[in-house]
Amino acid sequence: MFDFGVVTQWIDELLRSFLPGTAATLVELVLIGLCLLVGYAVIALILIYAERKVCAFFQCRIGPNRVGPYGTIQSIADMLKMLTKEIIEINHVDRFLFNLAPFMVIIASVLAFGCLPFAKGLHVIDFNVGIFFLIAVSSIGIVGILLAGWASNNKYSLIGAMRSGAQMISYELSIGLSILTLVVFSGTMQLSEIVEQQAAGWFIFRGHIPAFIAFVIYVIAGTAETNRGPFDLPEADSELTAGYHTEYSGMHFGFFYLAEYLNMFVVAGVATTLFLGGWMPLHIPGWEGFNQVMDYIPSLIWFAGKCAVVIFIIMWFKWTFPRLRIDQLLHLEWKYLLPINLCNLLLMVIVVVFKLHF
């Protein structure tokens, strides 16, 4: 299996051969930052296109089909339009907080994005509390959304922000607990090690029932966390027109929009890493030939493919279910998911202690 570590190693050595150590590190930081941002933008564009196509097929429509073959250039055209649009100055807003909010949201999602192990050796931040860091940075996004709703000085926005505050803080618990279940199982918080451990079999298969329950809860809570249907109450368009980003225009709105799609990717990426083996190919013990064939598929494709499956499931939710009401949403979390999650954690501990897993 191709190890991207070879490439990064080579670049590192090349830089160090003619630059002093600090400068080389600095250049590498800039390069990585650039790569991340480019990757971020490209993935967002692909996701926007995918969402429009998927939703179109669900709805017996064709979807974008005019710009480029099968409408593939459509989202690039949309991005260019968004970039050139005027950012409308609104009276009676808290100018500083209003402008700060979209950046908070986008920074949180870029930071979380940077934590993901995309392929073998292609991993930006990898340290022993990787998951802890990921949960921490992805939560910063709530602050941005609350700020956006508060600073807009608009009643719809405020209701949207209050809803999302209540919703995200609640579902953060479920995400945290279901991730914790897997941390208990793997015994580490380092993402690379978690992936390595799944070489023998993905956690969702090896972890028995508790891992599967954790996966289901994670996908539900992750959907809620990204404010997507059926949990899209903060921006419920038929109730609050657009919720917390009602007053935003131009690229400021674009940031919220990008962040929404990238958060979906991050949620899918984490689900992939924790439950579906990350970039690890599918190995079935005893089937040597099959395993070899699987190894020929590049790790990047494995990761992207698994993410795509999870993202498709999340989109499927959105385009099928009606929206929940705020009290039902909180009931679901506090009365069902949280207790199930706690029991599940206990179950996982039992599984690990008595070595009941595969």
Binding site: I159, P230, L240, P322, R323
Partner: protein, 541 residues
């Protein structure tokens, strides 16, 4: 007649004019007393106010209300008037019939009659700074008096109300709608879920709705005023533009009313085709209801399913009438054109096509746990309130009130076809939803019976070149997609109507929004609005 005997007994000084529907005229001093008696006397029990019409009779201004008893099924016109044109005042009946509340505001808006003890004497449709009362015959419509104003209208948190002392002195008071520290949010006039330009002012306590104040008039086109300057055939064009999802029903009602007044009997073929078209229209309207309710509740995919199937209905109608939304098909004495030869085949295809689709709808939406949780036990309208507020149509039938005009006073060929009147008793959002879904099935059933049996014959009878209705007042109603749509015509024997009033089913639907949503969440307000399914051009007229 027993009814007239009874009425004469309770109101000796009232003059009773006999006719198909008797008319009682009472002076304002006894108006309330007679109204109460009509409502509460068990032999009369006129509990349903169908239609309240304000009218300027030249020497007097007044109100004529059509009352119906849901127990005895009899009808009566109750008329009162005042000769004071400077400060016309009449007692209110809004505490006797809930629907009178908005209707009296409408009368105040158009004729300037102030209703004493009415809790909320604001204008209903026009701006607060509008000068004059348009439906008065001496109204000056010149543009210098009411120019197009380029500033927005003030929104008031208080409303005037007029109270009378026992000595008969009138004093003006203020009712407070919203306190200063209430969190009042505008839902509309530009809002995706109000189905048009309707504005709710909603007072919120967190997510919970405390009070809803309906502000209408954003799409008021003065159709009733316009009709007074149009000949009868010309007025037909206006009806399609009221509730555009019940264009056929509306026009059917007006045609029936005029044909009745003229004594025209239309050929059987016309009756069949009109009934078929009415049911197709009902199908298209209920399919749209399903789609938009799903969209309001966030199920966006379902929206497209409904529209896909509604397209098939519209295609059939387009083939015959040439129109998809505004069809202009019925005329006085018949139809504009004969039914298209292909239509029969296509209607049969539709009858085969729809049932599996309905099954899909139920799988996608009705059976969904989220949808059920959001609709069941939410926004309960009791039968009493449904009758008092005149909430007819599917919303009324969901509360257990048998109010289907097709059953009670059949028109077209509804007396010849077999169909069920769908009744639910819960009165919640879910039963309002289910009534419509079941009515789709019934409509298909009616179409099935009619489509092969259209008798041969003319598609219209010859009518005089200039249509003049004999002097008198006439009322006819049909079962439109959203409830009873009625037409009231007052004629002085001219070729123009003296007063034409449309009884809009949607105005009554909107009048119950406040009581249905109180204490529920914002999301419920949207779902309740969706299941009531009002169409704003119909209520604004």
């Amino acid at each position: 007649m027993e009814l007239i005997e009874n009425i004469k007994h309770i109101a000796p000084d009232a003059s009773v004019e006999e006719g198909k529907i008797p008319t009682i005229t009472v002076p304002p001093t006894h108006y309330r007393q007679v109204a109460e008696e009509l409502r509460n006397n068990p032999n009369l029990s006129f509990d349903f106010l169908i239609c309240m019409t304000g009218c300027d009779w030249g020497d007097s201004l007044g109100v004529i209300s059509l009352l119906q008893s849901t127990v005895h099924e009899h009808k009566v016109f109750l008329k009162t008037y005042t000769t004071n044109r400077e400060n016309p005042e009449l007692p209110t009946v809004s505490d006797i019939w809930g629907t009178a509340n908005l209707n009296e505001r409408e009368v105040f808006d158009f004729l300037g009659i102030r209703f004493i003890n009415h809790p909320d004497m604001r204008r209903l449709f026009l701006r607060t700074d509008w000068v004059g009362y348009p439906l008065r015959k001496d109204y000056d419509a010149s543009e210098s008096i009411n120019p197009v104003r380029l500033y927005s209208d003030d929104t008031l948190d208080t409303t005037p109300t007029y109270e009378a002392t026992p000595e008969g002195e009138i004093s003006e008071k203020e009712n407070i709608l919203f306190e200063d520290d209430e969190y009042v949010v505008n839902i509309g006039p530009q809002h995706p879920a109000t189905h048009g330009v309707l504005r709710f002012r909603v007072s919120l306590e967190g997510e919970i709705v405390k009070k809803v104040d309906v502000n209408c008039g954003y799409i008021h086109r003065g159709i009733e005023k316009l009709c007074e300057t149009l000949t009868y055939p010309q007025t037909l064009a206006m009806t399609d533009r009221l509730d555009y999802l019940a264009a056929h029903h509306n026009r059917h009602a007006l045609c029936l009313c005029i044909e009745d007044a003229l004594g025209i009997e239309v050929p059987e073929r016309v009756k069949y085709i009109r009934t078929i078209m009415d049911e197709l229209q009902r199908l298209s309207s209920h399919l749209l209801f399903w789609s938009s309710l799903c969209m309001d509740m966030g199920a966006l995919t379902a929206f497209f399913y409904g529209f896909r199937d509604r397209e098939k209905v519209l295609d059939i109608m387009e083939e015959t009438t040439g129109g998809r939304l505004i069809q202009n098909y019925n005329t006085i004495g018949g139809l504009m054109a004969d039914i298209h030869p292909d239509s029969i085949r296509r209607i049969k295809e539709l009858i085969k096509y729809l049932p599996p689709m309905l099954k899909e709808y139920h799988e996608v939406f009705t059976g969904n746990i989220i949808a059920q949780e959001r609709l069941k036990h939410i926004g309960i309208l009791t039968r009493e309130n449904a009758i008092s507020y005149g909430v007819t149509g599917p919303a009324g039938r969901a509360s257990g009130w048998s109010c289907d005009v097709r059953k009670h006073t059949p028109y077209g060929v509804y007396d010849k076809v077999d169909f069920k009147e769908i009744l639910y008793t819960e009165g919640d959002s879910f039963s309002r939803y289910m009534v419509r879904m079941d009515e789709i099935v019934e409509s298909i059933h009616i179409l099935e019976q009619l489509v092969d049996n259209i008798p041969a014959g003319d598609y219209a009878v010859k009518t005089p070149a200039i249509i003049k209705l004999p002097e008198g007042h006439y009322f006819r109603s049909v079962e439109a997609s959203r409830g009873e749509f009625g037409v009231y015509i007052e004629s002085r024997g001219d070729k123009y109507p003296y007063r034409m009033k449309f009884r809009s089913p949607c105005l009554t639907l909107v009048s119950v929004v406040d009581q249905l949503t109180k204490g529920n969440k914002i999301a419920d307000l949207i779902a309740i609005g969706g299941t009531l399914d009002y169409v704003v051009p119909d209520l604004d007229r």
